[in-house]
Symmetry: C2
Subunit: 353 residues, 2 copies
Amino acid sequence: MTVRDEERILEIIETARSKKPKFREDRINMAHGAGGKSTQGLIEGVFLPAFASPTLETLGDAGAFAVDGVDLALTTDSFVVRPLCFPGGSIGDLAVNGTVNDLAVAGARPVALSLSLVLEEGLPADDLRAEVDAIARAAEAAEVKIIAGDTKVVERGHADGMYVCTAGVGRRDARAQLSPTGLRPGDRVLLSGTIGEHGTAIMLARGEFDLDADIVSDTRALWPAVDALLDAGGVRALRDATRGGVASVLNELARGVGMLVREAAVPVKPAVAGACELLGIDPLYVANEGKLVALVAPECADAALDALKRFDPDAAEIGEVRAEPPGMVLVETAFGGRRVMDELVGDPLPRIC
Amino acid sequence: MTVRDEERILEIIETARSKKPKFREDRINMAHGAGGKSTQGLIEGVFLPAFASPTLETLGDAGAFAVDGVDLALTTDSFVVRPLCFPGGSIGDLAVNGTVNDLAVAGARPVALSLSLVLEEGLPADDLRAEVDAIARAAEAAEVKIIAGDTKVVERGHADGMYVCTAGVGRRDARAQLSPTGLRPGDRVLLSGTIGEHGTAIMLARGEFDLDADIVSDTRALWPAVDALLDAGGVRALRDATRGGVASVLNELARGVGMLVREAAVPVKPAVAGACELLGIDPLYVANEGKLVALVAPECADAALDALKRFDPDAAEIGEVRAEPPGMVLVETAFGGRRVMDELVGDPLPRIC
């Protein structure tokens, strides 16, 4: 591909990208839940117009609000993962960690969680007990209390055993002056560890692929890492790279600025890289459940990376913010070429959380 | 039945009741989601031991917590009602009103809601839009903002179109010195309006019974009524009488005290009374989605009833707290007899919210 070709392609994509994703489908499909372009279309086409509020429009991982001068954050997630248990965790771990992590990357210390269960008639009581225990252990590890709950039961054949919905309240930290729209050329892109473990672990656990690899989910709570990052200073934006992976997170953040990611700098475990190659999936699009992306001012990048490395030696600087091309994420391949890393289209790995 | 017979029966029931409900089943059944005895067993046998915390153990409709000295409440509910739309409302209305009402009866002014959707692949986009609109309208009516959200999609055949999970944060009101364990003989039992509309409206909407009656759900937000009640003073406990109805709420509150309900004083619309008679269900066990039960000190009862009547002229005083028999709710029938109004057993009206 010549430079001219590349420029023309970038131009076409840019024109397409400048139009906000729209929701034009007649019916909901699996991609609407995948965290990529379709999810974005649903949010911007249906939810934002209905629930218009300044905080919802920042599209962060949690909504900001204040009560009597105290800055709080609220977030929620439903978990519909199949199977309920997988190497490295279960739906209960995910439900706690996913929600406390949404608070953490919104710069809020998790304080309290609620837990709402939709159980399938016939669910073995021991399966329920195991998940309740997993939830209690994960909450203890994340130093957060579960203070409200609800249980519904639906008839056999619905809800795949159980769906779990958690909501969380956090105390926004005064050190967190996050402004995802205030990214500047030169800001660094940091990643808190190796990517792709959760999504590939789930796919292998389903046994749909004749593939045996030693991959475990990375589900864990991120507040301690965020706490250390905020001490290092200069943090402009944080995202946990769940559904849609690092690629979707960076595309979400690349509004008005460009991003360059150095593929060779992205930490991926060999087993994950191998599984992704066989499955035909780019690990940058695969879900993580204990990894964050931090956009940090250049002068604070070293201290921030040191802070992340204390929690995970695989933390790395993987790229930077560029002025051009605005709205796009480019990947510099190991061979020196460049390609566009667009938003996730479709759903290659359904129901991984 | 002689007085001796009645005494003996009461004794037997009392012994059974003094043992806490336990969770002994091998598998989850529909009754575990019905809000009665089985739900209580699940809560006390599985959830409380795992998530032990003083606030969860009060078993109120919301969990209390504080951040930097500000008193807050958190609550959550999943909604799995069938059908999604019914006379008087839809799953979207329920999701908002159910959650703001749980906050209201915990003495907390609703502040912010989160919304998590589990959508079924193939759901018509217009059905989603209609529910999103219903949610937005109900939130506006309840003066509460939806500030966080999540969407998951599950394969066709699961989730019956959609399940909706809402969580809510409220500001606990200093006037609300609720102490459900501090009920005293002589306290009055007030009801904010006619009962049984929601549950019977749902049953009729399903068309399973060859019955045509003009009954609409009572789904509405209760904070304005609670606000007025708190001004009247003397409120010891509040509950919204959803799953399991007024009977379950009163059984929950009758710990260490007895209650007497005068059946003739309980307001029931003729159409609801007729439908319940044909369905063989006592309206006191039928779900409401916009009615509360208030336990009020006798000296404040008249002012409290006046406050409730300003919102609904059908509000009524239906009974009182008695010293005997502790832990039991007795109903004085229109004919002057008495019967025990035990907790709901089984699930006569599944998936009504």
